[in-house]
Amino acid sequence: MSKIPESLRYSSTHEWVEDLGDGRYRVGITDHAQALLGDLVYAEVPEIEKNLQAGTVCGVLESVKAAADLYAPIDGKVLERNEALNDSPQLLNEDPYGQGWMMVVAAESSAYAGLMDAAAYANIAEA
């Protein structure tokens, strides 16, 4: 079964969100998502300063199997993006919760609190 760290929160569209403190949140795709997509070959992450709206498309992921939309898990504004994904999209497969992070966003803690915990996400991912 896929890895679902207890310390993170999750969206129904298979993104994880990590609370970095000071209203900053790191975002990536889950282990389950990368396994479904297969070998990723391209990731389009939103530009810095872009305003995100939870549940709407904010980027693109391309694997050898499919092209998929990246959804914003949370309302917020992009502060940082993982430039390493441009040359090494395989980081999304190899280390989805670590080096494969996608962006850091500024968001409200109430929005973060509304996301699923690991147990709730496990019900979706393993359904």
Binding site: L36, G38, D39, L40, V41, Y42, E62, V64, K65, A66, A68, P89, Q90
Partner: protein, 485 residues
């Protein structure tokens, strides 16, 4: 060419050397833009070039050489007579700018094709001009847009698209300026009506449906869907991708659709899959006729035919091709329909559905899992090898690669994305029972191999000029440069 020969032999024949004289470079090209090295052009004899391309063609998988059950693509036999007729010099040598009175023959063919396609689809009018399925889709949604705007109904900026729609639909809607809203399908393959109703409203321009859908099943509640969408002021777009399944049986017009496109290259006898040329004719109900793309063929009251212009159709979404589309594809479609006739057209879909359902039952008998076991297949069906994946790690990709070893083109895999580890199989109406039975025998052997020696599949293909490629590496490190590194 040895210049010494022309110098020493005084024979006028050598004065007609067809090689261009060496050109001097213009002097005004900046130094830094001039090549430092000669252009890397191949230097091979004509015979070597001929052998090179012949050898490459022999390595091709094609409908002319192998069974090609590539789901969603309708890789069927294209009768040679259609091509022979389209190649007649009266058509092939006709200049596109020939005045209409001097090209009545061609215009007659195109006018008849417009009429026949309208009759076959249950629509009021047809424009043959879009040059491919994608352009037909764009023309279709542009007409929906133009229709709403012409009524002063300016708030309709959303296009609803079921998850089971053809993959190109969201791109076409987005290009036409719509916001795409995805509507889920239920576990039995039909559209989720509750989700549809929740999204219908004064901001919805319409819905784009493929029926049968890319799940290989017929949308059973289509009449109800049409009622709901129309009641909310929206229009219904029919993607003709799977027209092969219903040809001569049921018409999109009867189902309640307002506008559609037909992939003439796919359903009507043009070899396809090689990147074109195609033809994505559009058909509309009466209320969308004023918006048809140009040019189309008009019959005057006294019988003469001519191209319609923007003066005839001032609300047209515009001219989509210089000269009426890809005429060769249209001529083949006309010849194909002419040969089939009314009863033959119905046999296309009858045999397409029979072949698909026969294959589905035979493969289920072998233990393969159907994605929608309680549903009858349309002209194609989906298997999921999730059970093999769980048991031995073998994936749909491995089954597809192993099929190549048996001289069979792989089915479509991992599409639609709704079904995990899926194979989308479309045998088409033109395959014999013997070919289908051989496919079943090969799939039986592959299933046994998957369970007993899965590594044989994971390393396939074994008997082709190229073995298993690293698809991820190829996509991540794109190398499309002609120059040697």
């Amino acid at each position: 060419m040895n210049p010494a020969v022309t110098e020493t032999v005084n024979d006028s024949i050598f004065a007609h050397d067809h090689h261009l004289p060496g050109q001097k470079l213009p002097t005004d090209i900046p130094e830094d833009l001039l090549r430092k090295t000669p252009l890397n052009l191949p230097n091979a004899s004509e015979l070597d070039v001929l052998r090179h391309y012949t050898r490459l063609s022999q390595k091709n998988f094609s409908i002319d050489t192998q069974f090609y059950p590539l789901g969603s693509c309708t890789m069927k036999y294209n009768p040679r007579i259609a091509h022979a007729l389209a190649s007649l010099p009266g058509f092939a040598r006709l200049h596109p700018d020939t005045p209409a009175p001097a090209m009545q023959g061609l215009l007659q063919v195109l006018w008849e094709l417009q009429e026949w396609l309208a009759a076959a689809t249950g629509m009021a009018a047809v424009s043959l001009t879009p040059a491919a399925g994608a352009q037909g889709e764009l023309a279709g949604v542009a007409m929906i847009r133009a229709y709403h705007l012409a009524r002063g109904d300016t708030g309709r900026n959303k296009m609803l698209i079921p998850t089971a729609a053809h993959g190109t639909n969201p791109a076409s809607a987005q290009m036409a300026g719509f916001e795409v809203i995805e509507i889920p399908n239920l576990p039995d393959g039909d559209l989720d009506m509750a989700a549809l109703d929740a999204h219908l409203g004064p901001d919805v321009a319409g819905i784009m449906l493929t029926n049968p859908s890319t799940l290989g099943v017929f949308e059973r509640r289509i009449a109800e869907i049409a009622r709901h969408v129309h009641a909310a002021g929206g229009l219904l777009y029919y993607d003709g991708a799977n027209l092969n399944a219903i040809l001569g049986r049921v018409q999109p017009g009867q189902m309640g659709f307002d506008v559609m496109h037909l992939n003439l290259h796919k359903t009507f006898a043009t070899p396809h899959g090689g990147g074109g040329p195609g033809a994505g004719a559009v058909a509309v109900q009466e209320r969308l006729r004023p918006f048809l793309p140009l040019p189309t063929v008009l019959q005057e009251p006294h019988g003469a035919l001519r191209w319609m212009s923007i003066e005839d159709l001032p609300q047209s979404i515009g001219q989509l091709s210089a000269h009426g589309g890809n005429i060769g594809v249209l001529l083949r479609a006309h010849a194909y329909l002419r040969r089939l006739g009314r009863s033959g057209v119905g046999r296309v879909s009858a045999y397409a559905a029979l072949n698909a359902n026969y294959l589905l039952k035979e493969l289920q008998r072998l233990g393969y899992q159907a994605a929608f076991p309680e549903r009858r297949a349309s002209h194609e069906f989906i298997l999921s090898v999730s059970d093999l994946h769980k048991a031995t790690g073998v994936r749909a990709l491995d089954v597809a690669k192993r099929l190549l070893d048996f001289g069979i083109h792989a089915p479509t895999i991992y599409f639609p994305q709704l079904v995990p580890e899926c194979l989308l199989i479309e045998p088409t109406e033109t395959e014999s029972k013997a070919t289908l039975d051989r496919f079943v025998a090969v799939m039986a052997q592959i299933r046994q191999e998957a369970l007993e020696q899965p590594e044989l599949l994971r390393e396939a293909p074994h008997h082709l000029p190229v073995g298993r490629l690293d698809e991820a590496l190829a996509a991540r490190k794109l190398d499309v440069s002609a120059a040697p590194e």
